[in-house]
Amino acid sequence: MPDTILDVRGLETTFKTPDGIVHAVNGVSFELMEGETLGVVGESGCGKSVTMLSILGLIPSPPGKIVSGSAMFDGRDLLKLSAEELRHIRGAQISMVFQDPMTSLNPVLTVGRQLTEPLMLHLAMTRKQAEERAAELLEMVNIPRAKERLSDYPHQFSGGMRQRVMIAMALSCSPQLLIADEPTTALDVTIQAQITDLVKRLREELGMAIIWITHDLGVVAGLAQRVIVMYGGYIIEEARVNELYANPSHPYTIGLIGSLPRVDETEHKRLFSIEGVPPLLLEKPVHCPFAPRCGWAIERCWNENPTLESIGPEHRVACWVDVKKGTPR
């Protein structure tokens, strides 16, 4: 049985806005095993990215604030570490790849400079060693003429190549955990496939754990072992990937899976879509956050916010209704 490398308990993050305090993450708890890949799924604005940025201390503060919770990593609570201590973990033991490769690299610094920075910082390499290693890293992510390209600037790379550079940079110090925040969302479908294949290969080679944030359940299916579904700052369902697809138990998850196009579909139907938009959480809801958009909602859903309950082996769901039977739990 592999060890737990990340154990997040009761994380709450808020943002102060002119309209009031937005409750972006509301008591999120999850854990991650060594070498495991965890998919985090949900619509935009459901708190996926904020959860991960909170763990790494990358929330702009103010307006952001981590209200409570803990995140144990390597025997230490990341949320209690000083900025300086956290800095030595970021990029070294936990690193992150972001959504938009076009804007995530600094336009005025060479790719070489940006790649060598973490190497010289965390691994105390000399410039020369770091440059050699940087070239190897670019080769590892399949960038041709790696050595020459170190002196190029980000605008001389395509979007897919830039994301490869980002991945190379994130993996440069052999982190135990890679957090990928919608790394393929901004890319063409063909490039998306290349990037996911690349990450799969690197996972085999390097053995790091991965948290893959996405709103695309299709990508997660091929990559993750376990999936967390988030809605309105809450985890509403958690299961192993096969179990989740075979047996989705939250109306929102069912909606998400239902809105995926299927290759085996013979008749042409309109794709299913979930009515409405995710809530802007200016107040913590007393009711189930999904109730306004839910077809199964019963009276209890409007009076009490369901908690995450176990309904099977490694399968937890936050819903008052057993959607299979259509009866209250």
Binding site: L56, R87, R90, N106, P107, V108, L109, T110, H155
Partner: protein
């Protein structure tokens, strides 16, 4: 790059000719002339004026005079060819007999070095004012952005806003009254500009507006850059805050700041006319204002051309600096 430079330098020719032409037309349209009676001087009678006009070629048609200024003409007395502006000859001053304009502007007084010439004095003041704008304005802007919405930010913004709203001549009068009349820290009439203490006031007055503008622009550019994804990437790598600010943010934030340095220099040039006159500073700006008052045609023309050349070269330098700071910019076709 070399191609581009050559092209840009060649462009200076039409620019300078146009500037000369416009100055020439405006100058000649203004009433009065170099021989006009001045209560403090001896009157010039009609016969003398005629011979003076003939000597300086002012009796020739306008186009001929302009051509003579730019290209050159034969001297009416000696019948020798005298080359014009294209040879660097800015012509004889009409008011300071026996001296050419280039001599007045660039030649230092007997026994002094080049920096003691009128041009040298103005350059030194300009460089000091520009340095103040850059070396105080940029740090002030960075500090304000990093401490956004704190007392430091508000103080910096207050300084910057007052610097932009206060005309330099008002500031000059205030400083002269406070530090000259009331506190007696500096003399109001300075005759020895070799002493450093006298340079502070004109430098501050001249540079303050530009400094304020630079600070505001740096602040807003920094605030913009702070929100960029690549700054988050830099932090995610675990870089020290110092590196994030000075390497990842500042290099991007300076791009718009450098853009305004060209126009800022033009602002310093125009500011220098007023400031040099107010402080009786022995520079080119005061000479210019005096020349205008005296209708010293060749002085006006010559000084304008020098100023135009300065601004053009400053703008060209900015475009070249651009290439080094922003790799996305290429100076090509």
């Amino acid at each position: 790059m070399v191609n581009y430079l050559v092209r840009r330098l060649l462009w200076l020719v039409p620019v300078l000719i146009t500037v000369s032409a416009v100055t020439f037309i405006i100058m000649r349209s203004a009433p009065g002339g170099p021989w006009d009676t001045d209560p403090e001087r001896r009157q010039v009678d009609a016969a003398t004026e005629k011979s003076l006009n003939a000597y300086y070629g002012l009796d020739k048609p306008m186009w001929r005079q302009f051509y003579a200024y730019i290209i050159g003409d034969t001297n009416s007395q000696t019948k020798e060819w005298v080359c014009g502006m294209i040879c660097g000859n800015l012509g004889p001053s009409y008011r300071q007999r026996g001296r050419t304009v280039q001599d007045i502007l660039f030649a230092p007084p007997e026994g002094k070095n080049f920096w003691q010439s009128r041009f040298g004095y103005s350059m030194r003041l300009g460089v000091l004012a520009l340095s103040m704008a850059v070396f105080i304005g940029i740090p002030l802007g960075i500090l304000a952005a990093l401490k956004q919405n704190t007392l430091i930010d508000y103080t910096a913004l207050f300084i910057a806003t007052s610097g932009i709203s206060f005309p330099s001549f008002v500031l000059a009068i205030f400083l002269i009254i406070i530090f000259g009349s009331w506190l007696h820290w500096v003399d109001i009439v300075v005759d020895d500009w070799t002493q450093i203490k006298y340079w502070f006031m004109p430098m501050i007055v001249l540079g303050f507006g530009t400094m304020a503008y630079t600070a505001r622009l740096t602040r807003s550019a920094m605030l913009e850059v702070m929100r960029q994804d690549y700054v988050r990437t830099a932090r995610a790598k675990g870089l020290a805050e110092r590196v994030v600010i000075f390497i990842h943010m500042l290099k991007n934030a300076l791009i718009p700041v450098i853009t305004i340095l060209g126009p800022a220099l033009a602002g310093l040039v125009t500011g220098s006319f007023i400031i040099e006159t107010m402080f009786s500073f022995p520079g080119m700006g005061r000479a210019y204002v005096q020349a205008i008052g005296q209708r010293d045609y060749s002085m006006i023309m010559g000084t304008t051309v020098i100023y135009a050349l300065l601004v053009a070269v400053a703008n060209l330098s900015v475009d070249i600096i651009y290439v080094f700071i922003d790799p996305r910019i290429r100076l090509e076709e």
